[in-house]
């Protein structure tokens, strides 16, 4: 048992293994505000990795509808309840105790799932539970069921901004390739490992003996048991693409299937260079570093679990803040404020989402003319048509895109029926 530093919590915590961080970390930003739940990501993953016998229920990528949906059912509220039972009323943050690098969201004062397991003394590494068969039966049960402010679904109240009385949102989930994976700590056989080159967490298919401790202790429920091979499998972050081994990748890291198939343009995936303490190395022109550490508009999912998840979410603007604070930590209010009135640079960087399937390691912004001024909530906000250029791992230009959609007006007399 070791004490390790978790920057998402702003403090040290207990973990089975001492710190040994990868050189690069697989990471992604999902903009919840943009998702339309078309499930193209889910199908891209399914049709690539989990279409075989025994994998029928496996959705390494799933999109669920909050607050009621979840796959497996109630995965998050179930664990939150367990955590609450072990440490009643204790899951609080000291949001004032901040540091830009080592405690960007404040300091977590509650218990992680590792600490709760130790307190419970139940003979396992992390607090967790194994979902039942029926919890996996319907990936989108309660889909589009809104939470009504009155508690009466038949008579929803009218909408009032900025928060709806009646609300729901889509949560896109893959394996978080955590900094301190609970699945890895839980595996009694050491069959799970985190790769040095990119931080991707994998289950060694030759060592796994199907004990399902990973499925039990992963808070996000992404390792899944396959009855036909009798071992567990999980999201592999499309590692051949990350390695640049895919024929289409041209030898440089390429985004995963779920990312590059995203119709709503909500996803941006990349690799973050790490310091030896697991914090992100200063990399100002990396779009992920900018979104997570400079603008801090993207936040980890349930950071209080303590695993250091590496998918970051731009929280939905319209959802009641207490719910979001529980899900994304105390950084929610600042994140939404920055997203609602984005800086000139953030406006440009947001254009990079789904502009290319090549992983962008660096971006540049070429300033363009002001388009217009807009008044939002009494404040003036200016829109500029800047151009953002993304570069691949070798420094080659991978994408060039403007803030404003290019607009062409075709002469009306040249084409019949304007076609």
């Amino acid at each position: 048992m070791a004490d390790v530093f978790n920057w998402q919590l702003g403090r040290k915590m207990r973990y089975r293994f001492p710190e040994a961080h990868p050189e690069w970390q697989f990471a992604a930003v999902f903009n919840i505000n943009r998702c339309i739940a078309c499930q193209t990501c889910s199908m891209a993953c399914k049709s690539t990795w989990t279409f075989s016998e025994g994998q029928e229920y496996m959705w390494w990528n799933n999109v669920e509808t909050k607050p009621y949906g979840g796959y497996p059912h109630q995965w998050d509220v179930h664990l939150l309840q367990m955590l609450e039972q072990v440490n009643p009323g204790g899951q609080t943050w000291d949001a004032a105790n901040k540091d830009a690098k080592t405690a960007p969201y404040g300091t977590y004062q509650g218990m992680t799932i590792f600490e709760a397991a130790a307190k419970q003394n139940a003979g396992q590494e992390a607090l967790g539970y194994l979902p039942k068969d029926e919890d996996w039966t319907a990936p989108n049960l309660y889909e589009d069921t809104a939470r009504n402010g009155t508690g009466d679904l038949r008579r929803p109240k009218p909408v009032s901004l900025p928060e709806h009385e009646t609300w729901f949102f889509y949560l896109q989930r893959i394996c978080n390739h955590c900094t301190y994976p609970a699945c890895l700590a839980a595996c009694p056989r050491n069959a799970i490992y985190k790769r040095h080159e990119d931080g991707i967490v994998l289950i060694d298919q030759s060592r796994c003996r199907g004990y399902r401790k990973c499925a039990e202790e992963c808070p996000y429920k992404k390792p899944m048991f396959r009855t036909t091979t009798r071992v567990s499998e999980k999201c592999i972050a499309c590692y051949p693409r990350i390695e640049g081994a895919d024929p289409l990748s041209d030898g440089v890291p390429m985004e995963t299937r779920c990312m590059s198939a995203c119709v709503g343009k909500i996803r941006l995936q990349g690799l973050a260079r790490l310091n030896s303490d697991g914090t992100w190395a200063e990399d100002r022109s990396n779009p992920l570093y900018f979104l997570v550490h400079v603008e801090r508009v993207a936040l980890p999912l349930y950071p209080q679990f303590g695993t250091g998840p590496n998918v970051y979410y731009i929280p939905p603007r319209w959802v009641p803040r207490p719910y979001l604070r529980q899900m994304f930590g105390p950084g929610v209010d600042d994140a939404i404020a920055r997203y609602e009135l984005p800086s000139r640079e953030l406006t440009a960087v947001l254009q990079l989402f789904r502009a290319t399937r090549t992983v962008i390691f660096r971006y540049e912004i070429q300033e363009g003319p002001k388009v217009r001024d807009v008044t939002v909530g009494g404040k003036t906000w200016s829109l500029y048509n800047d151009t953002v250029v993304g570069f691949d791992k070798r420094g080659r230009e991978a994408v060039r895109i403007t803030v404003m959609e290019p607009f062409y007006e075709r002469p009306s007399d040249r084409y019949i029926n304007s076609v």
Partner: protein, 334 residues
């Protein structure tokens, strides 16, 4: 002795009673092992040891030991302890060592669904018998202090019986509709099978894995899968036979008649969520491979043994009688 309030005659009868009880237990072939110095003797079998009939009378030759099991509470995940005892017997035929385990289990559990686990049993030996005694908890890190484990699983037994991977999706969900499984016969999409994970292969020839370990978390398939056996569930009890050639290649424990090694036992009850370290486990017993000739350290039960037992019983009764007479006839102390 006065505290017990026993008369001299009763005091004398106590050791006699214990002696008689010991003799009776010996006749019944039961060795009630607690935690200290348990001994499992593998006599040389007279006659062929059946590998298909677990209820063969050949096992009457082997003294049974009721081994106390307990929960595994040394490393995570902890658990087990629900199976209190396992009855162990051992035989050898000069070439192979046979171990027969028997324990009560009201359910016959195969690994089927996502939250269901299979019954299993295992025996563990030091990899270097007679030289070092490693920790019975999966051995030690030092190369010469590893352990060799034979693990039998009920689901593999079922696979062999049904000649297929019994936990198929069709068996689990008979009414499930799937339009198409692309590349169904391409092994690359059955990943664990494709990398020859023994847990995953569908056409097994033995229900027992031969494994090695040097400390927790290191359990690995041995290069040679040469442990065979059979398990049968009958009337709420599992009976499992495990056997292997006693002569082994370098690195694996070779045994021979007249030698002693150690053996630890473990049982998993699938219905109680047992798997991995969540098991009912014993510490090391001494395993004595008896020499082939009768009376040479073995408990080969033949005419000689019967005669010896009768002489022993007669002797014990005579001594007891004399003690009794002495206690009654001698005047009480003042």
């Amino acid at each position: 002795m006065k505290r017990l309030g026993l008369t001299r005659g009763r005091r004398a009868a106590l050791p006699l009673g214990l002696l008689v009880a010991a003799v009776l237990l010996a006749v019944a072939g039961v060795n009630p092992v607690r935690s200290q110095n348990p001994l499992l003797v593998a006599p040389a079998a007279s006659g062929k040891v059946s590998t298909t009939n677990l209820y063969s009378s050949v096992w009457d030759q082997a003294p049974s030991v009721d081994v106390t099991l307990s929960m595994q509470n040394v490393t995570n995940p902890m658990g087990g302890g629900e199976v209190a005892t396992v009855r162990a017997r051992a035989l050898h035929d000069g070439k192979r060592l046979y171990i027969l385990l028997e324990w009560g289990d009201s359910t016959r559990d195969l690994t089927l669904g996502l939250t269901q686990y299979g019954d299993a049993a295992a025996v563990e030996f030091p990899r270097t018998p007679g030289k070092t005694v490693p920790s019975f908890c999966m051995g030690d890190v030092a190369p010469d202090r590893g352990v060799n484990i034979w693990q039998w699983r009920a689901v593999w037994q079922e696979d062999i019986a049904t000649k297929q991977a019994s936990a198929s999706i069709q068996a689990l969900h008979p009414d499930m509709q799937v339009d198409l499984y692309p590349f169904r016969n391409d092994p690359v999409y059955m990943t664990a099978r494709d990398v020859n994970n023994l847990v995953s292969i569908p056409a097994r020839t033995t229900p027992i894995d031969n494994l090695v370990a040097n400390q927790f978390g290191t359990l690995t398939d041995a290069p040679q899968q040469d442990v065979h056996g059979l398990g049968e569930w009958r009337d709420g009890r599992w009976r499992v036979l495990l056997y292997r050639d006693m002569t082994q290649p370098a690195g694996m424990p070779s045994l021979s008649p007249g030698t002693t090694t150690n053996v630890a036992l473990a049982v998993w009850d699938g219905a109680r969520g047992n798997r991995d370290g969540m098991k009912s486990v014993s510490s090391f017993l001494d395993l004595q491979i008896a020499a082939r000739t009768a009376g040479g350290g073995g408990l080969h039960w033949g005419a000689g043994q019967t005669l010896a037992l009768l002489i022993g019983m007669f002797g014990a009764a005579t001594v007891g009688l004399f003690v009794l007479i002495y206690a009654v006839v001698r005047p009480p102390e003042r």
